[in-house]
């Protein structure tokens, strides 16, 4: 392969792919067999981090940035005047293998602009994965971006070679999507997603009967939404998410703060700040749903449609529900411990273990690593010095904010100053 040519293509096609925030390389169960190359059975590894602090674990590229569509939020859109390029199938295979052998990456994340039509494009993505698996005996991670509108046949094949499949919803509401991506319609996302979901279900039932059933997308499906490009509120975003988690068994939903890339009157202007803090709050909410046993209605509802920017969503929930506190760390159940601000799941498990040996007091909790500056207002323990004052939510919030130096404080102040 010609180094100069590949170098140019890589620069163009990596640059165009970077707005996809999915970076996970975990959750698969593909182990190295027959002395092949690679092993996707371990939990994912970030091999490096970009200067914006995001993890790099996969070679994330577009197969091509030619596209027949014109989605306003996308650099690759038809009407954008940029250099175009396209990889050959073999070139992507060579890059992936050589990067993997040097331990730069966990695998490949291949997406693409749409050339000609959905199936023509999807077919090539599948060809890359197939070559990697069958010719190179590659067992590393492969994530393919499904092309909206791709046929069921191709989606079935895709799942046989890929670890994960995704279709990006991009815009949380149908109305927003119509506005910004006139060529797309929601049904075209839903169809391949549904196909993959059903194949996964079928795989699981067949696997029970026949052990040798070939794997189908073992790391499941994910999707991504762009945040802050259209005017939806946090409740609309998270309810959409929740819907996809529930009805499509998605493994992950990613939230991507919109990075202004064009002067289009439908979108925030170039130079407007990326809503990173809001994005972070959405991820925190997502975690509360997936790992902390919260229902979405508890966090966002008609009377509380947006997440607080100055405090995290768990603290926000606790302050609105002070009647549930204080919680006794020596007797409370896991569910309730997980709801205490300042207690992460790690601390919860440590507490559950440690309290079998000793009645825990403040000293113990501190040593275990509980963020007492937040937790102290919500718990009691084997010590009689605890918060006895009858504090209002506002008062507690004030005390906590006073004593916490969040890594987002500086970000918060710049974002807040926009409103001055």
């Amino acid at each position: 392969m010609s180094f100069e040519r590949i170098k140019e293509k890589l620069n163009i096609l990596a640059d165009a792919a970077k707005y996809d925030v999915s970076c996970s390389s975990s959750g698969s169960n593909r182990t190295n067999k027959n002395k092949g190359l690679g092993d996707a059975s371990s939990s994912g590894i970030c091999h490096t981090y970009t200067e914006d602090g995001r993890c790099v674990s996969l070679l994330k590229i577009l197969l091509t940035n030619h596209c027949i569509f014109d989605c306003a939020y996308c650099v690759t859109r038809k009407s954008n005047d940029i250099k175009r390029a396209a990889f050959k199938v073999q070139e992507v295979v060579d890059l992936t293998i050589n990067f993997y052998r040097r331990n730069y990456i966990e695998g490949l994340f291949l997406s693409s602009g749409i050339f000609k039509n959905a199936d023509y494009t999807m077919e090539r993505l599948v060809a890359v994965a197939k070559k990697l698996r069958l010719e190179e005996n590659f067992n590393g991670y492969i994530h393919l971006k499904s092309i909206p509108g791709a046929s069921d046949e191709l989606m079935r094949e895709a799942g046989l070679y890929a670890d994960r499949l995704s279709v990006n919803i991009e815009i949380p509401t149908e109305k927003g999507l119509k506005l910004l991506a006139p060529d797309k319609n929601r049904a075209d996302f839903i169809k391949p997603m549904l196909k993959v979901k059903n194949e996964i279900i079928q795989y699981k039932s067949e696997k029970k009967l026949i052990k040798s059933t070939p794997k189908y997308a073992p790391a499941g499906q994910s999707t991504q939404m762009i945040i802050g490009a259209t005017g939806e509120n946090d409740m609309q975003i998270m309810y959409t998410s929740n819907h996809f988690y529930k009805h499509f068994n998605l493994k992950r939903v990613y939230y991507s703060g919109y990075v202004p890339i064009s002067n289009d009157s439908r979108l925030p202007q170039i130079g407007s700040a990326v809503p990173m803090l809001r994005e972070n709050r959405l991820y925190q909410t997502d975690w509360l749903l997936r790992f902390y046993g919260f229902n979405i209605e508890e966090i966002l509802n008609a009377s509380h449609q947006n997440l607080d920017l100055d405090i995290d969503p768990k603290l926000g929930w606790a302050l609105r529900n002070l009647h549930e506190f204080p919680v006794d760390v020596n007797t409370a159940d896991k569910r309730m411990l997980a709801r205490v601000p300042g207690l992460g799941m790690r601390s919860v498990h440590k507490i559950l273990n440690a309290r079998r040996f000793n009645k825990l007091n403040w000293e113990h909790l501190k040593k275990i690593g509980v963020a007492l500056n937040r937790a102290q207002y919500f718990i009691v323990c084997a010590s009689n010095q605890f918060e006895r004052r009858d504090l209002t939510p506002e008062h507690i919030k004030g005390l906590i904010l006073q004593n916490s130096k969040s890594k987002y404080t500086s970000m918060l102040s710049t974002q807040m100053s926009l409103f001055n």
């Binding site: 180094f3 590949i6 170098k7 890589l10 620069n11 990596a14 640059d15 970077k18 707005y19 182990t31 190295n32 002395k35 092949g36 190359l37 690679g38 092993d39 059975s41 371990s42 590894i45 970030c46 091999h47 490096t48 981090y49 970009t50 200067e51 914006d52 602090g53 995001r54 993890c55 790099v56 070679l59 994330k60 890059l95 050589n98 990067f99 052998r101 040097r102 331990n103 730069y104 005996n137 703060g257 990075v259 202004p260 990326v274 990173m276 440590k350 273990n353 440690a354 040996f357 000793n358 825990l360 113990h364 040593k367 275990i368 890594k407």
Partner: protein, 256 residues
């Protein structure tokens, strides 16, 4: 009361033999120290421990029963930290484990158990980082070569990971700080001690590496650059994830 200094060879088996000695001779105030760290001290009894695989195994097996598989793994990880005095923290944990009738490895309210678990966490963090930050370069002999200088002695911990992953290529991971490495010859992993030229650590040399090697490093560097989104730049976060002391291994961080 006077300490009894137990001097051992620095190996894990040696440490287990020191533990054996403590129980065999009922040493009341033992202090275990590596021979390399020992400085002659007045007023102390000293004993030199002789490493004996069989005794080490006896201790190891009873520890497995007392502490469980995860528990002994924790002890081993913490030991590999090579931190000054870690032996004595571990000895306290072991004494507590032998005394107790139930498993104590999760009693985080115990000072020594907590201390050990903190050290273990540090070591496993570095293990994980080495799995991420090792960068192989293809040598003219068709061996993928990587050099590292971890704070802790994590090479024994990362062997399985790399063996499972790179089953079809020869590789060496070399710890420059401790001067030994692992060599996978397509069948087994051997411990090797090499005389390495100083140039080996610089990426640009074509003395050892294939021509395409430099091209792939360049492609990786370019890739790294093009994935960055300038308007989201956050160097503080970046440095937290990729501590500066590791930059020297990372081809994407090299200035050429």
């Amino acid at each position: 009361m006077q300490n009894t200094l137990l001097i051992y060879d620095g190996s894990f088996d040696g440490f287990l033999c020191a533990v054996f000695y403590v129980y065999e001779y009922n040493v009341v105030t033992p202090k275990i120290i590596k021979a390399s760290q020992y400085q002659e001290q007045l007023f102390s009894n000293t004993e030199t421990i002789i490493t004996d695989k069989e005794k080490a195994n006896r201790v190891w097996n009873s520890l497995k029963i007392k502490c469980g598989k995860r528990g002994v793994a924790q002890l081993y990880y913490a030991f590999l930290s090579e931190l000054y005095n870690v032996e004595n923290t571990l000895l306290e944990v072991i004494k507590y484990a032998f005394k107790s009738t139930t498993s104590i490895m999760k009693d985080y309210a115990n000072m020594y158990v907590l201390e050990m678990s903190k050290i273990t966490k540090k070591v496993s963090r570095e293990k994980h980082r080495m799995e991420a930050f090792v960068r192989f370069r293809l040598t003219k002999d068709e061996v993928y070569f990587a050099n590292i200088e971890p704070d802790f002695n994590v090479l024994p911990l990362i062997e399985t990971h790399f063996r499972k992953r790179y089953a079809d290529q020869q590789w060496i991971i070399y710890d420059l700080k401790r001067n030994y490495g692992l060599y996978y010859n397509l069948n087994t992993v051997e411990i090797v001690v090499l005389e390495l030229s100083k140039n080996i650590t610089t990426n640009t040399t074509s003395e050892f590496f294939t021509d395409t090697e430099l091209e792939f490093q360049q492609l990786w560097k370019d890739y790294f650059k093009s994935t960055n989104i300038e308007s989201r730049k956050n160097l503080k976060l970046h440095n937290q994830h990729v501590p500066k002391r590791y930059w020297k291994y990372l081809s994407e961080k090299q200035p050429f």
